[in-house]
Each structure stands twice: as structure tokens, then as C-alpha cells.
């Protein structure tokens, strides 16, 4: 069985800045995978490259076996990407937004509509379906974007800082939802700067620094028999040279 995400020798520059520098990463299917790293480490760029939003300067990316460069549409069909800021149309209503997403992914209308209503109910948004998105709080917007991402039941979800701006209850709901997806054989890849979240919910982790993966595996792999916390390991691996 192919990996959910397979990245080899990935490089991306922005002018003189090397955002991703020969990054290798393999995420097996059915994992809840956390990508950690300090600010500017290259997490967001890596995720945007994996989602086909940016073109790499070098290297290859395969999503569920599909080469993102050679067959981007096939890769995108099985993929969902959530940016760090929820991007929504302020003047649309939730169901209109989801209908648009369903159209983009070419979903069967009846199935999409039923699934949209289920997702809105699951995420606690059913009481506000007639309100324009501009009236939503940040947490509600994040939930709606998540509903859009789940609409086509993607095999691989890539989420950039999905818990930012959520209150405790909403964060818990999202974490449970993502864990349930991983348990059902789907793959969830998220970036987060909250180490505690990564330590508690992720089945595998990778730590990125200066555009490369500097450590990866399960929490047990990272501890390597010691009793160090993830924070200790993270700080040690990402410490800047004096």
C-alpha cells in the first residue's frame, strides 16, 4: 500500500530565502501526523507544496500515490487543505459555501447536500445556516472551513495550524474529529506550534528546522528510551547555533 504522503528531496526558495531545503518525509496512511517546528522552519511552505498550491524548485511529492507535479488534479481529488486563516466568502451562507465546494469537487448533488447538513450539525453550526458567513466568529469560520474540507471525504487532509483561534470546546471537537478520521483509515497531517496537542493527539510526528526534517517517528521513537518531554526534545533539536 502506498504512503498517504511521500516527499523526496523537496526544495523551495523565495528569492534568497531557502524555505524548504531538501526535505524528505513519508506519512503512512491512517496516521494523525503532526509537523512541528519553530516559526519560519518551513512547515507552512511544505504543507502548501504538498497540497499543490506552490510549485517546488526540486524534489517530488506524491499524495496517495499521485504525483502532485505530474497529475495535480488526481492528487487534489483525494486531498483537502486547510490554510492557517479560514478563507471564506463573507457574503455567502454556509450551505451556499458548501454547495460551491461540492461543485468544485464535482460531488453528486444529493449526497453532497445530505453530507453538508450532517457536517454542519456535527460541528454545531446547524442553527446558523441562514446567516451570512461574515457574522461568524473565528471559531465558527474554522469549523465551516473544516466542514468544506470534509465534504468530499478526502483520503488525506492537510491542516495548517487548525486549532488557532478555537475555544476549548471547539478545539476538543476538532481534535476528536481528526482522531476519528485517522482511526477510520484516513490520513490527517497537521502543523501546530502547540506541542502539547501534538504530543497528545498525534500518532507520529516530525520536527522541521531550517527547511529539513531533523527528527521523526512516534513519541516513543523521539524519546529513544529517555523520559524527556516533547518540549525538551523540540528545543534541543531546534536550538539555534550560538
Amino acid at each position: 500500500m502506498s504512503a498517504a504522503l511521500e516527499i523526496r528531496g523537496l526544495e523551495k526558495r523565495f528569492g534568497a530565502t531557502r524555505a524548504v531545503d531538501g526535505l524528505d518525509l513519508v506519512v503512512p496512511a491512517g496516521e494523525l501526523f503532526a509537523l512541528l517546528g519553530p516559526n519560519g522552519a518551513g512547515k507552512t511552505t511544505t504543507l502548501r507544496l504538498a497540497a499543490g498550491l506552490l510549485a517546488p524548485d526540486a524534489g517530488s511529492i506524491r499524495v496517495a500515490g499521485h504525483d502532485v507535479a505530474a497529475d495535480p488534479l488526481a492528487a487534489k481529488r483525494v486531498l483537502a487543505f486547510l490554510p492557517d486563516e479560514p478563507q471564506l466568502y463573507a457574503k455567502l451562507r454556509p450551505l451556499e459555501y458548501l454547495a460551491f465546494v461540492a461543485g468544485l469537487w464535482g460531488l453528486e448533488p444529493g449526497v453532497a447536500q445530505a453530507r453538508a447538513r450532517d457536517l454542519l450539525a456535527l460541528l454545531g453550526l446547524e442553527g446558523t445556516v441562514n446567516d451570512p458567513v461574515e457574522t461568524y466568529s473565528r471559531g465558527m469560520k474554522q469549523k465551516l472551513v473544516l466542514a468544506g474540507a470534509l465534504l468530499h471525504d478526502p483520503a488525506v487532509m492537510i491542516l495548517d495550524e487548525p486549532l488557532t483561534g478555537l475555544d476549548a470546546a471547539a478545539a476538543r471537537l476538532v481534535k476528536d474529529l481528526l482522531a476519528a478520521r485517522a482511526a477510520s483509515g484516513r490520513t490527517v497531517i497537521l502543523s501546530t506550534h502547540i506541542l502539547e496537542v501534538a504530543e497528545r493527539v498525534a500518532t507520529r510526528l516530525a520536527i522541521v528546522s531550517h527547511g529539513r526534517v531533523v527528527a521523526g517517528g512516534t513519541m516513543a521513537d523521539l524519546r529513544a528510551g529517555s523520559d524527556r518531554t516533547l518540549e525538551d526534545i523540540f528545543l534541543e533539536l531546534t536550538r539555534e547555533a550560538p
Binding site: 463573507a90 468544485l104 446558523t128 446567516d131 457574522t135 461568524y136
Partner: protein, 497 residues
């Protein structure tokens, strides 16, 4: 020498820097060079044009012509000021930053009003002052009164717009006031245009009656040299009393506006807009249709967004408003009817360009589109179609009129129309600002260069239409401009990192 921090001068300089960057974008040197060169050219034209005139010739220019022109510019300035007032009060997200600083709020509002006045004055000053300079050179130094007159008029416009917008805040609340102020500004601008067009589309009998009234003593009291309507023109022409009156009125309005804005801000009247609008006001909500078609999804989304955004509606409806006199002219016979087709070609291009700008540069979820399994070129095509279809639908009755007109050339008209609509949409899409404008409310207006190219392209197609209909070879020049405008827009687009 730089202004003392937190002083009025400091704040005005900061506003000026922001405004200049908004206008010139990344190509400041090119913009300065182009503006200076064009201004010198305007001076040359003005000096040449006025060279033959002498003092007595100036005196022979009917006050009605001078006065009406001045009124036209004054209302245009007021229309611009309304947009700037709404922008300054509601759309700039720096109020918390500025008012958290140890600066008196009246100083802040004074700086913003002065900056708005400078923006309002920029256009008439840029195009009008060369003629004032030329007139002064040719023996009419009183025309230099244009300096204080335009400045006072700009201050007055900005202050009146700010006061009116604050009144709207009190009457309708901050959220509605923003929309109402923009609508009011647009109506003021369009009303002036339509008023000046009114004579052209009045029925013959009414025109004759109006002419007779104008020649009567009652009419002369309104349009004669002594008419109170021309007081602004007299101020501009250097008459001391009207000029002093204008300056005093502007100063009083400025003081009132600054005081009113500071008070409204202190009372929290402007806060409502910054909070999220209340939920639960969405109504019952019509059932939403899910469909498989990507084309339907994209076009429906774009049209919904336009229909629900007051600024977008304004952007769309204004060209339609300007089309209405042409429709009337088209229904009649004569010279006006012959000019209908080229004018419609230009305005339909503007309409398509405006819609394409909203679709391309106003995209709020670029990552969603980039992550969807749809070819980017297809999405661009669908966005262009969503802009072109309404413009084509609006233009359709005019094609029918042209077909019914004796000697009309509906196919030529339709071809130029298609060219204008298509090239305007392509210009806006090709010149779309890199990166997303995540909020249409924040996206103030299309990029200046893109707008200029789009307008030139549409005008080129209009010229081509006129050339084809009248048999003039100059139409080919218009065709060339129209055809190449999308390419120029693509080349002029700022490069991305």
C-alpha cells in the same frame, strides 16, 4: 525637515505617504516621471491654447459655461469625498492603533480630513492648474485664485461628506451608514453626469420650452452672469467676496466635521461596524441547490457575491446608470443615435471590467480554488464568463436598437461589443493583484494602472466601433489599442516573488 511626532503635520505626512503608495504602487519612479511629463505636456497645451486669447477674450467666456463646469467638478469632488469618508471611518483598520496613542482625537480627524481633501483636490488640481498658470501668464493673474479656491472646495467637500456620513451613522447605525455613504456618493456623481446629459435626452418639445424659459427674465436670473449658482466659479475666477465666503464656509465645515467625528468616536458610535454584524438576521434562507457542474458553481458564486455586496452593486450599477441616457438617445433619431453604439461599447466594457475585477482580485478563498481538482485556466475562464455574461445581457437591447436603426450595422456593433467586454475582463484578470483580497469590503478599487489600461482598451473598442460605423480609418487605431490592451495589462502586472 520632518514634522514633530504626533503633530498634525506628522499625521498628514503619514496619510500622504499611504495615499501616494496606494496610487503609485511599486513603480513609484515610473509614476512620478509619467505624472510630471504629462503635467508638463498639459502646461504646454494650456499655454498654446490660451496664447491667442487676451483679457477681453476671457471676459467673453459666458459665465454659464464657466459656472456649469465648476459645478460639475464641485459635485464630482463631493462624490469622491463621500467614498473617502466611508473609507476613513469604516474601512481602515487602524483606528484602535491611532486612538490608543497619546494624540488628541481632533488632531487625528483633522489630519484625516486634510488628507481626504488633498485626495479630492488632486484630480481637478492636476488637470485645472496648468490652465490657471497659463491664464495668469497671458494676463489673467486673478486665475491663480484657483489655488485657494480648489483647496477650500476640497476641504468643504471632505468636511460635508464626513458630516453627512456621521449623520447617517446616527440615523442608521454604523454598519448601514457605510453603505449609505457610498451609495450617496455614487448618486451625487451620477446625478451630475445625468443632469448635464438631461438636455440631450429631453423630448424636442420640452427642450424648446426649456430654451424659452432660459431666455426669459426668470431663467436669466438662474443662468445669467449674476446667478447665485455661479458663486463657486466667481470664487475660482478670483472675485474676492465669493472667494472669502468659500474659504470661511470651508473652515467652518472643517471645524464642525472634526468636532463631530471626534465626538462620535469618543461615544463609540463608530464601534458597531467593527464588531461582527448581528447573527440571526439572515432570514428564512432560500433552499440551496447543490449541483455537479463546476461552471454553475463558480458563476453562481460570483453572481451571489456581487448581488450581496453593496460596493459591488454600486460598481456594477453605475455604468448601467450612465447607459440610460444612451438608451433614450438610441430610441430617438439624429446624431445622438449614431453615437449610441460606440458609447455602449465603452460602457459595457467598463461594466465587464468592474465585474471581472471583483471576480479576480476580490477572490476571498484563493487556497480553496488552488486546492480544488480544477485546472486554473478553467477557473479563470469561468470567472471571466461570470463578468462578461451580465455585460453582454445589458448590451443586448442596444444591439436590437442598432439593428432597427436606418443604416445600422448591428454585426459591427456586436463584434466591437464582444471585443470591449472580452478585453476589459481579460485586462482585469491579467492584471489582478498578486495575492488574495480576502475581503471585498477592504478591496478599495482596482489597481490604478490596470484601470487605466482597461479604460483605454474599452475606449479603443468604442473608437473602433465609431470608425467602422462612420467609415473613418482612425477606427483602426482604436482596434489596435483594444486588441493589445490585455497584453499590456499582462506585461504591466507587478512581478511576484
Amino acid at each position: 525637515m520632518s514634522a514633530r511626532p504626533a503633530s498634525l503635520g506628522f499625521l498628514v505626512a503619514f496619510e500622504a505617504r499611504l495615499a501616494w503608495r496606494r496610487v503609485a504602487g511599486d513603480r513609484r519612479r515610473i509614476a512620478i516621471a509619467a505624472l510630471v511629463l504629462f503635467w508638463l505636456g498639459l502646461h504646454a497645451a494650456a499655454f498654446q491654447g490660451l496664447a491667442g486669447l487676451r483679457t477681453e477674450a476671457f471676459a467673453r467666456v459666458p459665465m454659464a459655461v464657466f459656472g456649469a463646469t465648476t459645478l460639475f467638478f464641485a459635485f464630482a469632488m463631493l462624490a469622491t469625498a463621500f467614498g473617502l469618508a466611508a473609507h476613513g471611518l469604516f474601512e481602515r483598520r487602524d483606528l484602535d492603533l491611532v486612538f490608543a496613542a497619546p494624540v488628541p482625537s481632533r488632531t487625528v480627524w483633522a489630519a484625516r480630513t486634510i488628507a481626504a481633501a488633498a485626495a479630492v483636490a488632486a484630480f481637478p488640481a492636476y488637470f485645472g492648474l496648468p490652465f490657471a498658470h497659463a491664464a495668469a501668464w497671458h494676463g489673467e493673474p486673478r486665475m491663480l485664485a484657483a489655488y485657494p479656491a480648489v483647496a477650500a472646495l476640497a476641504i468643504l467637500s471632505s468636511a460635508l461628506a464626513l458630516l453627512a456620513t456621521l449623520a447617517l451613522v446616527r440615523l442608521a447605525g454604523a454598519r448601514r451608514a457605510r453603505v449609505l455613504a457610498q451609495v450617496l456618493g455614487a448618486i451625487v456623481g451620477a446625478a451630475v453626469f445625468l443632469a448635464f446629459q438631461a438636455h440631450a435626452f429631453l423630448p424636442e418639445s420640452l427642450r424648446a420650452a426649456f430654451g424659452a424659459w432660459m431666455a426669459s427674465p426668470a431663467g436669466m436670473s438662474w443662468v445669467g452672469d449674476a446667478s447665485p449658482l455661479w458663486v463657486l466659479a466667481r470664487a475660482l475666477g478670483g472675485e474676492l467676496l465669493p472667494l472669502a465666503g468659500l474659504v470661511a464656509t470651508a473652515a467652518a465645515a472643517f471645524a464642525l466635521a472634526v468636532r463631530g467625528a471626534a465626538r462620535a468616536q469618543a461615544m463609540g458610535a463608530l464601534e458597531a461596524f467593527r464588531a461582527n454584524p448581528p447573527r440571526g438576521a439572515g432570514g428564512s434562507g432560500r433552499p440551496v441547490r447543490f449541483g455537479r457542474s463546476i461552471a454553475r458553481a463558480v458563476v453562481a458564486k460570483e453572481w451571489r457575491l456581487v448581488a450581496r455586496d453593496p460596493r459591488a452593486i454600486l460598481h456594477t450599477l453605475l455604468p448601467l446608470l450612465y447607459l440610460s441616457p444612451l438608451l433614450i438617445a438610441g430610441l430617438r433619431r439624429g446624431e445622438g443615435a449614431a453615437l449610441m453604439a460606440p458609447s455602449v461599447v465603452v460602457l459595457a466594457g467598463f461594466l465587464a471590467g468592474g465585474l471581472a475585477w471583483l471576480a479576480a482580485s476580490g477572490e476571498e478563498a484563493p487556497d480553496l480554488l488552488a486546492g480544488a481538482p480544477v485546472r486554473p485556466s478553467r477557473l479563470v475562464g469561468l470567472k471571466a464568463a461570470s463578468a462578461c455574461l451580465p455585460a453582454a445581457a445589458v448590451a443586448l437591447p442596444f444591439i436590437v436598437l442598432e439593428a432597427l436603426r436606418e443604416g445600422g450595422m448591428p454585426f459591427v456593433f456586436a463584434a466591437c461589443l464582444a471585443g470591449s467586454i472580452g478585453s476589459s475582463a481579460l485586462v482585469q484578470i491579467a492584471g489582478a493583484e498578486p495575492g488574495a483580497r480576502r475581503d471585498l469590503a477592504r478591496a478599495s478599487q482596482p489597481g490604478r494602472w490596470t484601470s487605466i489600461i482597461e479604460h483605454l482598451g474599452a475606449a479603443g473598442w468604442g473608437f473602433a466601433c465609431w470608425g467602422a460605423l462612420s467609415g473613418s480609418a482612425w477606427g483602426w487605431a482604436g482596434l489596435g489599442i483594444g486588441l493589445f490592451s490585455p497584453l499590456v495589462a499582462r506585461l504591466a502586472r507587478p512581478s511576484t516573488a
